[in-house]
């Protein structure tokens, strides 16, 4: 029996797509790289995912998990072909009010979870800007962040348990509502592993109470430098606001053109700051941020009057990537992170690189975390521009790493950033990562060729296994 027949038998024909146009649709995510799916399946639960994994292993076919396909690093692109497993049918939400948590199907959309929790005065903290489309499974796989992860941490801090299908089709439930599961933290390893270790079918997530009070404010600055300086100073003033987001003038203008959110288009940069908590603390913190902003030359400080006004300010921020479409057909962005103390100098260097390559660059980013998103709008059909965009991207990453940074803050490595892993890790570091992969996915069917560059395993060459090497030869 072919694996296609086996899949039809296990899931039913209606849940197996094989038409070329369907395969084409599911062969790319929101990055620029396209793969080629051999088949697309829609399992309904963990048991069906387990069947799919067994079939993939038996026929040695790659298996690529996919949520909404909003990933920006080709993580969900089937670049080695194989079975694309779409999780959207696994979409239950079971809220546990007493434990302030919820078991959530991998295919549930991030915003739907928060909408389901809101009537109970609860919310799921990670709020990627793509939250109206991306899935919890994708958030878990990429350890996604979002504006509000500054104070609350990324997805991994909010995952208490996982139902996951591992090698051999084994379904395991890791973690739970009780703290500190015993033994090695497999759950923590799987979060952020980009579908390379197994397929998450459900996640037990932490729900936080809605905050009693909030102040959202927009500060306009005459230079990007003065905005970035303010960010560094807010952090060093001894507070961690709920969010600190920076947008430069090009970005503000693009958003304004599209949405008319009332953003100040003449400012060189705007800072969106939010503080939450008890009223007394919120007022004091908002005051400090406003004062620091003014001391750095802020030309206006606008405090959201009410919830509608606040929602408008946030909509401007969260729609930023969508606004790029007016400028050019494609965009390419990095999401390197730098220490907050190096923000100002890094931003200057990033602008200098874009100017030197004569590229249209816009910036909208999680400044409070030092998580940059320099974004180049361009036309990918021109090979010369394509080359320039990628060269400039490499330089930007290099400068971030030189300033003590990391390759990716929240989008993941996928294929887009895979070969840059060598610029930040030693051979032994990568070998250790390759061992983690091998231990959990010995047959290598889960999302092959992602995250780790080829040859990461130090003893990959010539099929020589570690155990056969003479003693003492370990480097």
């Amino acid at each position: 029996m072919s694996y296609l027949e086996a899949l039809r038998g296990a899931l039913g024909e209606a849940n197996v797509l094989e038409e070329p146009v369907e395969l084409h649709l599911f062969s790319k995510d929101a990055s620029l790289l396209r793969g080629q799916a051999n088949v697309v399946v829609f399992p309904q639960d963990a048991d069906q995912v387990s069947e799919v994994v067994k079939i993939a292993e038996a026929h040695k076919v790659p298996i690529v998990a996919r949520g909404a396909g909003t990933g920006l690093t080709a993580g969900a692109s089937p670049t080695e072909g194989g079975i694309v497993v779409v999780t959207t049918a696994i979409d239950s939400i079971e809220i546990d009010l007493e434990n302030r948590s919820a078991w959530v199907g991998a295919g549930v959309i991030n915003l739907d979870l928060s909408a389901a929790a809101a009537p109970h005065g609860l919310h799921f903290a990670p709020d990627p800007s793509s939250q109206s489309a991306c899935t919890i499974g994708g958030n878990v796989a990429n350890n996604s962040g979002g504006p509000h992860c500054l104070a609350e941490g990324s997805t991994t801090s909010h995952v208490l348990g996982l139902e996951v299908v591992l090698a051999g089709g084994e379904i395991v439930r890791l973690g739970g509502n009780a703290p500190d599961p015993i033994g090695l933290d497999l759950k923590g390893l799987i979060v952020g592993s980009e579908g390379t270790l197994g397929i998450v079918t459900k996640a037990l997530v932490r729900l936080l109470p809605l905050d009693p009070d909030v102040r959202t404010m927009l500060l306009a600055f005459p230079t990007v430098e003065s905005a970035a300086t303010t960010v560094s100073q807010v952090i060093s003033a001894g507070m961690v606001p709920a969010a600190l987001e920076l947008m430069d003038q090009r970005m503000v203008q693009a958003v304004e053109n599209w949405l008319q959110a009332g953003l100040p288009v003449d400012a060189a940069a705007v800072l969106l700051a939010e503080v939450v908590g008890e009223t007394e603390g919120v007022e004091a913190e908002a005051e400090i941020i406003a004062d620091l902003g003014r001391a750095n030359g802020a030309t206006s400080v606008e405090v959201a009057r009410d919830e509608t006004h606040r929602a408008t300010l946030w909509k401007g921020r969260k729609s930023a990537f969508g606004a790029i479409a007016q400028l050019a057909p494609d965009y390419y962005l990095h999401d390197a992170v730098v220490p907050r103390t190096r923000l100002v100098e890094t931003m200057s260097a990033v602008y200098e690189i874009a100017d030197r390559y004569d590229l249209t660059m816009l910036n909208v980013f999680h400044a409070g975390d030092g998580n940059l998103h320099p974004l180049v709008a361009f036309d990918a059909s021109d090979p010369e521009t394509n080359r320039k965009v990628h060269e400039a991207g490499d330089e930007i990453v290099a400068i971030c790493l030189k300033n003590g940074g990391a390759l990716s803050g929240e989008h993941g490595i996928g294929i887009e950033k895979r070969d840059m892993m060598r610029t930040t890790f030693t051979e032994l570091d990568l070998d250790a990562q390759a061992r983690l992969k091998e231990a959990v996915d010995p047959s290598g069917v889960f999302n092959p060729s992602k995250v780790l560059p080829a040859g990461s395993r130090c003893f990959d060459f010539g099929g020589v296994r570690r155990k056969e090497l003479p003693e003492g030869v370990w480097v």
């Binding site: 434990n99 302030r100 941490g153 990324s154 991994t156 801090s157 395991v172 890791l174 509502n177 009780a178 703290p179 500190d180 015993i182 033994g183 090695l184 933290d185 497999l186 923590g188 390893l189 952020g192 109470p209 952090i235 001894g238 908590g277 008890e278 009223t279 007394e280 603390g281 004091a284 992170v337 730098v338 220490p339 907050r340 103390t341 999680h366 975390d369 030092g370 940074g405 990391a406 390759l407 990716s408 803050g409 929240e410 993941g412 490595i413 892993m421 930040t424 890790f425 032994l428 570091d429 250790a432 990562q433 061992r435 983690l436 231990a439 959990v440 995250v451 003693e471 370990w474 480097v475």
Partner: protein, 359 residues
């Protein structure tokens, strides 16, 4: 024990105890141990040596000479510190800048590496989350002597697998932690401890730092600006003492960590045998307890495990367990855990057998 190679002999502080001074020393010791099949116990402050299956080492690796602060960036809220640094010393340095690493409040002699390896957390975990959320980067030496680094010195990072997180609660089974980068938190100088009538009363304030109940009373811990504290104290019905008064963990012949879903915490307290002393963390589901006898533990464990929790032995007198497993039922995915350990510590030399399931 056979005599040590000369490059290791210089590290001996006592017979069978070596105190490495660098990651390279740790590597030499572990390569030697892997070659000779020696069991190595890693010793930080020694405060948790009763945790997990009792060690029977051939060699003790003392972290006492790896205590340096390698980098402290107050303006970035990050700290890079060697694993042997005492928690107390680290927090004293940080508090001068009104910052904290949110490590356990009454650490005794415990070290940063020991806290991470045993997975211990601060009382403030209900608000600021546990130790596993503090770790940004880790440099570790695997059982076969490879020095590897994972993570990075920035507050947000998804570059590769989360190796640092895997070290939390791993009791060194994958490698010896040499240094870590921690995410810090501002520590407002204004603080108060408010005694309340019942844990339910704490619900009046949004996300307090901690709500602790022990055999005597229930207390809510808050910090912030003076105005915030005043407002929160009023909501809690007054009776605040200035500052944070953290309970010492109860100590007796047996030490316990009871972990249950937060909703089961009150039920768990009611089930504790009367002679047990305890500190319970509301909103978290953790109870730290101590007892003179083991009686009642088996029933408590079986109830906890049925509720999705655990009863773990954190301390016991020699021979006192009498076959009572320190961890209880093995965790799920044990085969995967075994394979991970085999990749990192193939000769199984670091703290062998100390993890659940005899790993």
């Amino acid at each position: 024990m056979k005599s040590l190679p000369s490059d290791l002999a210089r590290l001996a502080t006592e017979p069978d105890t070596l105190a490495p001074e660098s990651a390279e020393d740790v590597s030499s010791i572990l390569r030697h141990a892997s070659k000779e099949g020696l069991r190595v116990q890693v010793r930080g402050g020694g405060t948790r040596s009763g945790f997990g299956a009792p060690p029977t080492p051939d060699l003790v690796m003392s972290m006492e000479n790896l205590t340096a602060v390698e980098a402290y960036e107050p303006d970035d809220l990050t700290l890079v510190v060697q694993a042997g640094a005492r928690v107390d010393d680290v927090e004293s340095t940080l508090i001068e800048h009104n910052q904290t690493a949110v490590l356990p409040e009454r650490p005794g002699d415990s070290t940063v590496g020991g806290v991470i390896a045993s997975g211990a957390s601060s009382f403030k975990r209900g608000r600021l989350f546990g130790t596993r959320e503090r770790l940004l980067e880790a440099t570790v030496v695997t059982g076969d002597g490879r020095v590897v680094r994972g993570g990075g010195r920035v507050v947000k990072n998804v570059t590769g697998y989360d190796l640092p997180r895997l070290m939390v609660g791993a009791f060194g089974s994958l490698g010896v932690i040499v240094s870590v980068c921690l995410k810090l938190w501002p520590a407002p100088p204004d603080r108060a401890t408010v005694t309340v009538d019942s844990p339910e009363a704490a619900a009046e304030v949004a996300r307090p730092l901690a709500v602790l109940q022990d055999n005597e009373s229930t207390r809510v811990y808050v910090w912030g600006t003076a105005a915030e504290i005043e407002a929160q104290t009023a909501k809690l019905g007054g009776g605040a003492e200035a500052g944070h008064h953290w309970p010492a963990g109860p100590v007796d012949r047996f030490g316990w960590s009871l972990r249950v879903p937060p909703a089961n915490l009150t039920g768990a307290i009611e089930r504790l045998p009367t002679e047990w002393r305890y500190v319970a963390l509301h909103g978290v589901g953790e109870i730290r307890a101590a007892s003179p006898r083991i009686d009642g533990a088996a029933d408590l464990r079986s109830w906890a495990e049925d509720e999705g929790g655990r009863l773990v032995v954190t301390d016991s007198p020699e021979g006192g367990l009498d076959g009572f497993d320190p961890w209880g039922r093995p965790p799920p995915g044990i085969e995967f855990q075994k394979r991970l350990i085999a990749e990192f510590d193939p000769a199984r030399v670091i703290n062998p057998g100390r993890l659940p399931g005899g790993l």
